[in-house]
Assembly symmetry: D4
Homo-oligomer: 248 residues x 8
Amino acid sequence: MDIKKLLEGVKAGAISVEEAETKLKMKPFDDLRYAIIDHHRQIRSGCPEVIYCAGKTVAQVEGIIRNMLENDSDILATRASEEIAQAVLALHPEAEWNPSARTIVIRRRSAAQAGEGRILVITAGTSDMPVADEAVVTAEFLGNKVERLCDVGVAGLHRLLSKLERIASANVIIVIAGMEGALASVVGGLTDKPVIAVPTSVGYGASFGGVAALLSMLNSCANSVAVVNIDNGFGAACIASSINRINR
Amino acid sequence: MDIKKLLEGVKAGAISVEEAETKLKMKPFDDLRYAIIDHHRQIRSGCPEVIYCAGKTVAQVEGIIRNMLENDSDILATRASEEIAQAVLALHPEAEWNPSARTIVIRRRSAAQAGEGRILVITAGTSDMPVADEAVVTAEFLGNKVERLCDVGVAGLHRLLSKLERIASANVIIVIAGMEGALASVVGGLTDKPVIAVPTSVGYGASFGGVAALLSMLNSCANSVAVVNIDNGFGAACIASSINRINR
Amino acid sequence: MDIKKLLEGVKAGAISVEEAETKLKMKPFDDLRYAIIDHHRQIRSGCPEVIYCAGKTVAQVEGIIRNMLENDSDILATRASEEIAQAVLALHPEAEWNPSARTIVIRRRSAAQAGEGRILVITAGTSDMPVADEAVVTAEFLGNKVERLCDVGVAGLHRLLSKLERIASANVIIVIAGMEGALASVVGGLTDKPVIAVPTSVGYGASFGGVAALLSMLNSCANSVAVVNIDNGFGAACIASSINRINR
Amino acid sequence: MDIKKLLEGVKAGAISVEEAETKLKMKPFDDLRYAIIDHHRQIRSGCPEVIYCAGKTVAQVEGIIRNMLENDSDILATRASEEIAQAVLALHPEAEWNPSARTIVIRRRSAAQAGEGRILVITAGTSDMPVADEAVVTAEFLGNKVERLCDVGVAGLHRLLSKLERIASANVIIVIAGMEGALASVVGGLTDKPVIAVPTSVGYGASFGGVAALLSMLNSCANSVAVVNIDNGFGAACIASSINRINR
Amino acid sequence: MDIKKLLEGVKAGAISVEEAETKLKMKPFDDLRYAIIDHHRQIRSGCPEVIYCAGKTVAQVEGIIRNMLENDSDILATRASEEIAQAVLALHPEAEWNPSARTIVIRRRSAAQAGEGRILVITAGTSDMPVADEAVVTAEFLGNKVERLCDVGVAGLHRLLSKLERIASANVIIVIAGMEGALASVVGGLTDKPVIAVPTSVGYGASFGGVAALLSMLNSCANSVAVVNIDNGFGAACIASSINRINR
Amino acid sequence: MDIKKLLEGVKAGAISVEEAETKLKMKPFDDLRYAIIDHHRQIRSGCPEVIYCAGKTVAQVEGIIRNMLENDSDILATRASEEIAQAVLALHPEAEWNPSARTIVIRRRSAAQAGEGRILVITAGTSDMPVADEAVVTAEFLGNKVERLCDVGVAGLHRLLSKLERIASANVIIVIAGMEGALASVVGGLTDKPVIAVPTSVGYGASFGGVAALLSMLNSCANSVAVVNIDNGFGAACIASSINRINR
Amino acid sequence: MDIKKLLEGVKAGAISVEEAETKLKMKPFDDLRYAIIDHHRQIRSGCPEVIYCAGKTVAQVEGIIRNMLENDSDILATRASEEIAQAVLALHPEAEWNPSARTIVIRRRSAAQAGEGRILVITAGTSDMPVADEAVVTAEFLGNKVERLCDVGVAGLHRLLSKLERIASANVIIVIAGMEGALASVVGGLTDKPVIAVPTSVGYGASFGGVAALLSMLNSCANSVAVVNIDNGFGAACIASSINRINR
Amino acid sequence: MDIKKLLEGVKAGAISVEEAETKLKMKPFDDLRYAIIDHHRQIRSGCPEVIYCAGKTVAQVEGIIRNMLENDSDILATRASEEIAQAVLALHPEAEWNPSARTIVIRRRSAAQAGEGRILVITAGTSDMPVADEAVVTAEFLGNKVERLCDVGVAGLHRLLSKLERIASANVIIVIAGMEGALASVVGGLTDKPVIAVPTSVGYGASFGGVAALLSMLNSCANSVAVVNIDNGFGAACIASSINRINR
């Protein structure tokens, strides 16, 4: 529904007041819908669509991507299995598949830059790397400069303490840790920047698939720590990117 | 330990290389300690100390505040019982006690302004107000402009939808909700700004003291939502403030 | 915003197309808001407002009720403490306070009748009665005919089996039970009517405040059982009433 | 036991009072049994038997279906694996297997129509479709008119808001959502019809296999929402159908 | 309904077959009801009624007891608060109130003896005594010979091992333990008699109100251990008594 | 250590008092050990050894069985995989493997009869059969007469109610049910015999692998119900057998 | 039973071999019992008895202490309420009551010294002090040298890092922390001494009464960390003391 | 950074005071880092590096081991799959792979001996052996004398009681048990040595993957018991080794 045309029709007498009122009441969201899509999907700002592959069939993902390719959209697919990746590569050989991050990226336009600020992605251990990879791919896809700091878990504190400058110079910090997730509190205590904590399912026994790290992070004694779902590198990158865009 | 003096002593031959080496190894954190305090406690940036009163005796809180008053610090005390508030008011009648927020604020200096950006605090229902009050008092204490949007729970969606402009114009949004906590996802879907979600213990039965809202927010289908602990209005304000300061 | 006036203004040329377009986009929900209130709050159908008192101060509840009395609304307040009840009775002595149900009802208009169908409220034991009382008060307030069947827990099955006729003649059945909550499955197996199951916090130890009954009801081997929150007699009555109104 | 024949035997003196008394006491449920089957299984109302395949061997399912085919029953089998489906198709090639819904339907009679009212099945995302498919197949099997509304999760609210008319025109609404399950509350706030909420196991990490959505739905701030077990599309359709039949 | 009279009426022609058939179908449980009460409530075996006081008002308990006193029943009331006990003592000064067990016993008839076998009640620590007292009062009320073995927790194994004879000579053993509940497994390994394990809420922190002991007992590596609810001394005595009556 | 020989040595002066004292203090359990084995393993009563296969390798199970065969023991192996069963059948072709119960039985002596009393095993649904099979095989192996009552879940109550005689004539009743586990309470209300309840992992979603049934059974409103671990048909049979042996 | 006397009786012919054999089999633990008490209660090593007051009545605690005073025992009572403390002080005015630690100590003998090694008790925050006090009182009561390091939570890491020497010089370290409990991992990474971690119930919301800290500590990425129950300062001191005694 | 060289440069005037100050502030942890590695990784004490293989790819483990082989380090790899083991054996055929413990050990130097004291590893059942194997391999790798006591679960207490001497002669005891984990309490009651308890995931149903044993051990009524994560044989050996080294 084109509100302007409708109003012009009313002005011109081609559409009665009553008819226009009904249309406006019945479909009041048509316009807003696109506005929200604009905002949310950032069509105007060149920000790409994201496909969450888990729970979708190969055929469904193929269908969505074919559609988006026709519209020349940039594409990010997350949680993509190898089977899905192969199908997408068959469709579009230029797609970049990252098997550790489980992401597929297709770039059709040049990315809008999110600004000068950097997002720093810190991981506690080697096993947290796939989640970090998802965060890095996502944050870069959203136009951010991203830096990594790996394997700096709190049991060997000196490794982290030797990198204070890099922590100090980031705009936002994503801390990714499994097991007891203590790294989020320690980093949070070393910076005044917002810390987005990602618990990972790394661990066994009483880690309960990441619950120990999740609870640890939610109860952080450092003040500026907020938490996303277990293994949710994608979500951490999204909010870090939205933070990184502020006041740009 | 004054590193500069030490080094000058080494240069001057007053201190041997071995002695200096030992001192530097034994107390390598003296300097850094103050630097971290600077950063964390923001001594240089005029940011005030915070006293978490829960689990402290009245005498302990009195002692800390007396000390801080002597140092002319600005003071924020959270989770203050009426008993603690009365004791602090007896010490310092100008203290501002907010019984709903359970906060005590003592201002000795004018607050550093965090910038032009506003923090928007949205609550789902009337019962979430004490948590919102804690967030508002904290965010203002940290020098932010804060705005509120109350009682806009998702069961009456029109109330929220009529306020889209206010949502669009904030820098950061704090969403405070108990029960099923769905408001965080709905707000997250209506904005591209970072959303800090605070689950509250409002509810009964299977809300499990805020766990239902917490899980709901952690599983938000909106991308830019991060979560703090149940009823943690203070922590939400801290990270929102640290976000609001970025790129200022 | 009055859409009709706006459109008439456009037709008359008093409001430009652009101005009207802006207003419609900026506040598209003003009209809808009232329509949704109509639906949800059932202003047109004579259905009363409901005040959930838990987490509200006495002053807040008084304020809301004073407002509603001025508007001649029918009022239902749930989870009302004795302190709140006394305050409301002081305001309006005709208010009906049910201390077991913890409800306050104020009737200003005659209730719209929900139809011929009856809602049957079945309880397993004496301790489940407060929840049943809340359900009965609510369902009657919403204009339904309500019948009760008490203390028919499955450990004495004959009590229930002797009442099959009453079960058969109801439109909707609310089953209220704590402990192991088995009554919902047994009743569900004896009827083809929809069963709304309410777990109660009656029990101790491994009942975990109603969780045992909740899980039992969610896993019912009877097909037509749906569940509401622990101790949520109000909610059960609401959905039972909405069912009882269908096809009236 | 045929009570009438027994009584005639007593009247005729062929059966002694004592013998009859013993029979009536010993097997008082024979008659009732069939009456309950009537009610429960709806033999009189043309409603078909349902086989829950999970935990049954292929041979067991085959045996049950062979038996039912001999009795010319309509058949619905749920949670049927491909292996079971192939075995049933071998037995009865006209069987309709829906691999997404995991259902097998065999129609021998024309379905009794449940009435004019429609059941509306709403899903939040693409991954919730198998549960929706089970609900739709079941509801149609039970003789209901069913309509779908897909992929209208709350993160893109406009999609849902543009369909208010369809929501308004249904008799009962089944809302199917995983992750944070907020859709149930939002739909519940937009309608006065009964909402049956189905949490799904869609999600990861702190969704705990559907627990987050389950708790969210149980704590819905919308009043007329009742909940069935995680992924229980079948059960939702059963109670929706029993609601849809009322006052027909 | 008196089935015999009905049948005699049919035989005599005073009642038609159809009328009798209707009565038998409509109220088929009247007779059975009493038979089940007989069985369950053990009217024939002189076994007394039991009143679970938790969740009942003083007035409700008084009413039930007054009724039972008129019928000369023996009475056991469990979970009786001091307030309830005082009210019952006012009604019937001969009532025996056990404040530790929270039981009230009123004896009007001499107890039926359950047989020669003894029930042995073993407790791990002093804090488990109230639960043991409830078990002992109940078991004696049901006519059993009961013996106790106290404070024989596994941290001082010698205390238990010095009592093997008493363990060997009991018919059934009730093991009552909080904290880690290990006593049930140890006793279960020392006897071939049935062991009924009662977890208690004794403990703190990760005992979770008895959950640790409950899980411990459910996972006992000793084979002949079955478990009742946390703090359920009454239930343990009931099943122990039903075991003690077998083959008498 | 042979206590008798030792004492005879002391008497004969061949062993000094001090040496004997040391031996008795150092190894005081050698004798008792065998006595406990007697009791526990029931060597004297002809009761067989039991091998729990889960977590044992094929080689370990083979080794144990070879050993026992040499000692002419009767053997029961539980939780035996097909791989283990094939290995045992290769060792001893007369072994009876029950793939549903996952048991292997090897009989070398005729079973000691546990007495006249019968154990009745009741199951709610077809999917509970493997657990029932384990219970039946075990109870028979321990020398008990066992009877079954299958598929009498509470959603079709008439099926159970038509079998009251069989319930009444058993010595002990094992009730096996998954989903909401309500059958235990219903059976417990229909009998004065001890009921051993076995929750099963049958169900999905909020059944949490049998937790819903477990909690339901622990909170049974019927008094004489005790519970064993989820899917523990073996343990239920053991305690039922120990009950069935009492007062024989 | 005096084994030596028994054996002398056998040697002397005063006791028959059979009689002695029976006695030895019947009461084989009399001797061992005292030996175990020796070991466990450390009668020989001058180590005092401990009374856990929670769940004991004032009269019970008074009785135990009166008894022990008569035996001139040293006494430690833990979890003592003020009411119990006042009663004990009335009995024995020299008793030392520590209201923060909730301990009562009565010294009759000089403590056996556990050795040169020190136990270091580290706390994260002020609110953890009562648990630390219980640990310190207990460890000193058991004869250990104890040192404290307070308020060194990981959010201000410099405070901890400035105390590395004290950490390095302890024999055993007790780390006491609530909220996210990260301090245990950080300390564990800074030392090669055994770390006993005590989670405390300090925190709110998703700390779940200490569960977050407990899980964090159980999943510590530092290797030499073992954990005791929430708030169990006493237990931590016991095991630390037993470690401190090794190889003394 | 070599502090000594830096200081000599300052002394010699080759490095300015300011430059040195900056370097020391910027990288204050370089030296400490190695010191901590020294301590933690025990380079000076000949203690080997440990590789936790879970969550690492084969290539990552190969890379780390190749590196360490070049440095002539002793190597312990835990949680090594067969695939990883084969890759490591291909690299270094002298590697010792223990498939039950899932460990790989490569010895290049002779182990530093931890002292005379022995670590005793006690297991409840055969299925706990892999965890015990991991503990034994680790403890021996760290230079400890290790002894085992297997299959002494509490259901056959005599087996344990016959080994009191071995328990008494150990320095530290590791107790490994699944199911109800009662062995930790029983052993803790029989010794005054520190007990490190390892819950295992052995069990089913309500053992919840080791949670029942974990809670049991955390709630031990024996005082000197501390607990590590479920199945964490490695961690238990680490802390036992650190205990065994004290006062050596």
